[in-house]
């Protein structure tokens, strides 16, 4: 009846539907630079992701998109087909600075920070250092040395871990406050607990928070953080390999350790035959000479029958 509708590929939009704090998109302080979307290296994937720098590069925001199939927007007198809702939310610039710090930290030298945060692929990354929270917070992830008026930095795993641990704990507290449902058993985000979260759920909250923070750090860092938090790694059952079927410990024939049937086998023979229904009894009396058993119809024909 209805013909199959062809999907035309999504084209770039010239407008978006965005949820953002007013101060993130306006230049109230008359700073030199207006708010701008920039592409920076995503610390979790190493790929490019979109971020927004507020006016004067004072605050970093990450950009997340709500995307689901079959959504469109009606905006005023127009239709926007992507149905995407962008969220511009404040973000700690240290997460983006961290990968650069780790990279140069491998050289083991103290370096001025403007030489650390440098990237030909993402030239905008140097603007991260203008953020109000960048320079003042670098001591969370590095050791500092002051020579004259210049500051030098070197990556510190120890400091970073305790900084991230605090982040996880803060996130866990926020999750608890918002009644976000955590734990392996919870499969739906809309699941609502009737009872308030109990104390023994603390680990679930920490684990969930760790997962959330891991979206902002590299995979190696995430593993190290898990150990630092003292949370044992759990393997989901589907990841563990299934036991191989042909498990042979010895060549001896397999025998049950305790086999009780051996001793009372004689009892079986003494058991009276099962009671048959009236129908079964009459069937049993039927003369079956010359009749093939049912199973013979399913087996390949015997060659003898072919003449």
């Amino acid at each position: 009846m209805a013909t199959k509708k062809k999907r035309t590929p999504h084209t770039q939009n010239d407008s978006w539907v965005v949820v953002a704090a007013a101060e993130s998109v306006t230049n109230t302080q008359r700073h030199e630079s207006d708010p701008a979307f920039v592409r920076l290296k995503n610390p979790s994937t190493d790929g490019a992701s979109l971020y927004l720098l507020g006016s004067g590069d004072l605050q970093l925001y990450e950009v997340k998109a709500f995307e689901e199939d079959f959504h469109s927007w009606f905006v005023g007198q127009t239709v926007q087909r992507d149905g995407r809702l962008l969220f511009v939310t404040p973000m700690d610039p240290l997460y983006l600075i961290l990968p650069y710090m780790i990279k140069t930290g491998k050289e083991g030298k103290f370096q001025p920070v403007d030489q650390v945060v440098k990237d030909e692929e993402f030239p905008a990354c140097s603007r991260l250092l203008s953020c109000t929270r960048s320079l003042a917070c670098l001591h969370h992830i590095s050791e500092e040395k002051e020579v004259g008026s210049q500051k030098f930095h070197r990556y510190s795993q120890e400091r970073t871990m305790s900084w991230l641990k605090k982040k996880v704990e803060k996130t866990a507290a926020a999750l608890k406050k918002r009644n976000v449902c955590v734990g392996e058993g919870v499969k739906s985000s809309t699941y609502v607990r009737v009872k308030p979260a109990s104390e023994d759920q603390q680990e679930d909250f920490l684990r969930y928070a760790h997962g959330l923070i891991s979206d902002y750090i590299s995979e190696d860092m995430s593993k190290a953080l898990l150990t630092h938090l003292g949370l044992p790694e759990v393997k989901s059952p589907n990841e563990t390999e299934p036991p191989s079927k042909k498990r042979k410990l010895s060549d001896k024939p397999v025998e049950a350790g305790e086999d009780y049937t051996k001793f009372n086998s004689s009892d079986f023979t003494r058991k009276p035959p099962k009671k048959m229904s009236a129908a079964q009894k009459t069937l049993a009396k039927v003369d079956k000479t010359g009749m093939k058993p049912m199973s013979s119809f399913f087996s390949p024909k015997a060659k003898a029958e072919k003449k």
Binding site: M1, A2, T3, K4, K5, K6, R7, T8, Q12, N13, W16, F37, R39, N42, S44, T45, G47, A48, S49, L50, E62, V63, K64, A65, F66, E67, E68, D69, F70, V79, L86, F87, V180, S188, S189, Y208, G211, L212, S214, D215, E219
Partner: protein, 305 residues
């Protein structure tokens, strides 16, 4: 006929009824059911019932009511006037199903087909007569779908009422003819006085018969086809004529209960389609998955606007 309750909002279903004659509450009555405007792609479908005491059947015959299809519009109007004049013993009730109701019923997630809609409307009207105190003893219905099944359904629904479902009932039983006249007159008036809720300016009313096979109707539909919204509410979207035009001329709109090809379904269920095993370079899987806080909420990082 006063259609103002329907014209106040022509996007919904509306019931109109005459005064219930006093004799109908005391004497055993017969009741006829018929519909008008089942086939057209334009305008409402109207269900009508007419009832009168069994003892007055002959008087009804004397009014020379006949199948509405054999009459001209003017003749139908005169006959409806005659029915109105006989209001001391003839009562009627109508259910106007707007094209919008028909479209949304048939196109909703759990499909509600036109036969079911028709049956339920007829049942609703008979129930209305019973609730109003009419002593209904005999019901005559023109068939919709298989006559026997329909008759059984109605008999079960109204125990104690003798139900007769018959094809061409509108020419066999005067009470059904009377119902068909009421329905047809209401439908004519509703279509003629249709108030378009859409802002279409000076509307061209030359749409022919309104039936899908009428070239004039098709041309009219094409003229008022909006590439985005489709048609005015006057049009039944669920008719294949309307759908075919929208498929070819309008912007494609996808709903999540659309039938999809296997490729897309697989993609959504995160399965790999069989075809993907044959394509040359399988794109490398994303090594890290977003945390479920984000995936549960359908949130993703973006790398371009």
């Amino acid at each position: 006929m006063d259609l103002s309750p329907f014209e106040a909002d022509n996007s919904v279903s509306c019931r109109l009824a005459s005064q219930i004659p006093d004799v109908c509450r005391t004497e055993d009555c017969c009741l006829g059911v018929d519909e008008a405007g089942r086939g057209p792609v334009l305008g409402p479908m109207v269900y009508g019932i007419c009832f009168c005491p069994v003892s007055k059947k002959e008087e009804l015959k004397a009014l020379k009511v006949a199948d509405s299809k054999t009459l001209t519009e003017a003749e139908r109007e005169t006959l409806f006037q005659k029915l109105e004049e006989a209001k001391s013993y003839i009562g009627w009730a109508l259910q106007i199903l707007s094209p919008n109701v028909i479209s949304t019923s048939m196109l909703q997630r759990t499909k509600y087909n036109l036969n079911a809609l028709s049956h339920d409307t007829a049942i609703g009207l008979i129930q209305f007569a019973l609730d109003s105190g009419v002593e209904v003893k005999e019901v005559y219905v023109d068939t919709v779908g298989p006559a026997e099944k329909y008759q059984e359904k109605l008999s079960q629904h109204f125990p104690g009422v003798q139900v007769t479902v018959r094809p061409k009932a509108d020419s066999l039983f005067p009470i059904v003819s009377a119902a068909s006249i009421c329905a047809k007159v209401a439908r004519d008036h509703a279509v003629e006085g249709w108030k378009f809720t859409e802002d279409l300016g000076e509307i061209d009313k030359d749409y022919g018969s309104g039936y899908p096979n009428d070239p004039k109707t098709k041309a009219w539909l094409l003229k008022y086809l909006d590439p985005l919204f489709g048609f005015p509410q006057f049009v039944r979207f669920s008719w294949s004529t309307a759908q075919t035009q929208m498929d070819s001329k309008a912007v494609p709109v996808h709903w999540d209960d659309d039938e999809e090809d296997g490729e897309r379904v697989a993609q959504r269920h995160k399965n790999r389609s069989m075809l993907s095993y044959f394509s040359a370079a399988a794109e490398c899987e994303k090594s890290r998955q977003d945390h479920r806080f984000f995936s549960d909420r359908r949130l993703r990082s973006v790398n371009s606007l």
